[in-house]
Amino acid sequence: MHSKRADNHTWRTIKSGLASTVAFISALLVIAPLGLVFFHLLVNGASSVNWDFFTKLPTPVGTPGGGMVNAIVGSLELLAFASIIGIPIGVLGGVYLGEYGSARVNSVLRFIADVLNGVPSITWGVVVYGLVVLRFKGFSAYAGGLALGLIMIPLITRTTEEVVLLVPNGYREAALALGVSRWKTIVHIVIKTASRGIITGILLALARVGGETAPLLFTAFGNRFWNHSLSQPIAALPLQIFTYAISPYDDWHRQAWAGALVLVTGIFCVNVLVRILTRGRTASIV
């Protein structure tokens, strides 16, 4: 009896060891691509990331040096324009789903938002191309910002709804019982309590669209020079990387690597910021 139990114990130890080894290898496989991407970007791009990269315009083929300042600024402009469209509509939509609306309407809206989140991003580019670019006869920063903003809306709507629903009902009741109106309760109590979660959702949406290339192909189009009017084509970091990467020139390839490194680092920083924001979750609930 005793020896049999000992055998069992040995067998269980082996099984446990096997399971943890498999899990460990899987975990490594998950992390490995991120490490590889960073490694390659650093090896190929780091040498081209210098002061010029952040301050100079692209140079013509064959001329050494130059940078991507127009693309960096262009990306920021596009993100700002996308935020103007995406953040208010997304946040208010999420608040509506979390606070108002009947169960049936909400489940339909939620389903639509989920479908929209799954739509390939190039589709948004085509939609905006049809709606804006053709109508106004030209690629523009407006069109690019609109495409990115439309992608942000369902993302922010869903994250906002989730954090609004996490706010315990006791806080709503406490405010309403003080004779505070419904919308003031929502603005000053519910949204304030959920603000950290809402901001996190916004940042994640920005990080997501900041790296989008496809929706900009037919909208912002790209520009090798400064953009002087929002109704003109505008450069964006992912677009510039795309253009340079498919070119046949070595120095453009190096610039593309550098651009990718800057872009990934930027998105990485936003994600780190999100982690920091969500770390102190114990104090307020979301």
Partner: protein
Amino acid sequence: MATPDPTVVERVERAAEPAPTPEPAPASTFQVKNLSVWYGDKRAIDDVTLDVASDAVTAIIGPSGCGKSTFLRCLNRMHELVPKTRVEGTVFLQGEDLYSSDVDPAIVRRRVGMVFQKSNPFPTMSIGENVVIGLRLNGVRSQKFLNERLEKSLRMAALWDEVKDDLHKAGTSLSGGQQQRLCIARALAVEPEVLLMDEPCSALDPIATAKIEELIYELKAHYTIVTVTHNMQQAGRISDYTAFFYLGRLIEFGPTTKIFTNPNERQTEDYITGRFG
């Protein structure tokens, strides 16, 4: 949002003047007549008629699911937050029909404050902000007035001495009993006429409970208090009148001493002596 609510301003002005000679208080604050409440098809309250005495503590007792909380929430229309609720009958507050179509539920709730079972200070606000948030969101801007009301409310809630140096600290940093008194202070700050309490001590330890009970005893000099409690000893200690609910019906209502020593109804006696519930 910037325009102050007229009723608050009116009360602010009233508070600033010296109090006029009090009129003889009416005998009852609430007059509830034939009140029935449905949640969907389920009848939660069945034809309840009772008068709530002014400046006294009325306790509502009964087993779980008997409609105690629903009844309490009908007194400030908080039950309307539950979808598919239907109410029949009337509730008069100082002679005014609370369910009349031209009555704004927000105004009702300003006159009838509420303290909940689970203390719920707002987690994003300091102790001081928690107390005055009701006034602020109802349009009061004067910092001087807010500060005065802050101290007065905390004193009435017997919390001032414990927190006066920590007003900027988070409301959630207080102990459970202190948080519940903070919630009472928050409810008092808007100067309601009535205070409803939904099992205010059920999540507290005996010492914190004793403090709240003492506070209720002091507050009844100025406020009509209606409290729901699971704890019959507590009802016996703090209340002047007791209403016993069972299965949505009011079985018996009367002075607490009478209900606890010589109830008319067999069911009341069975519940109080612990034979069921």
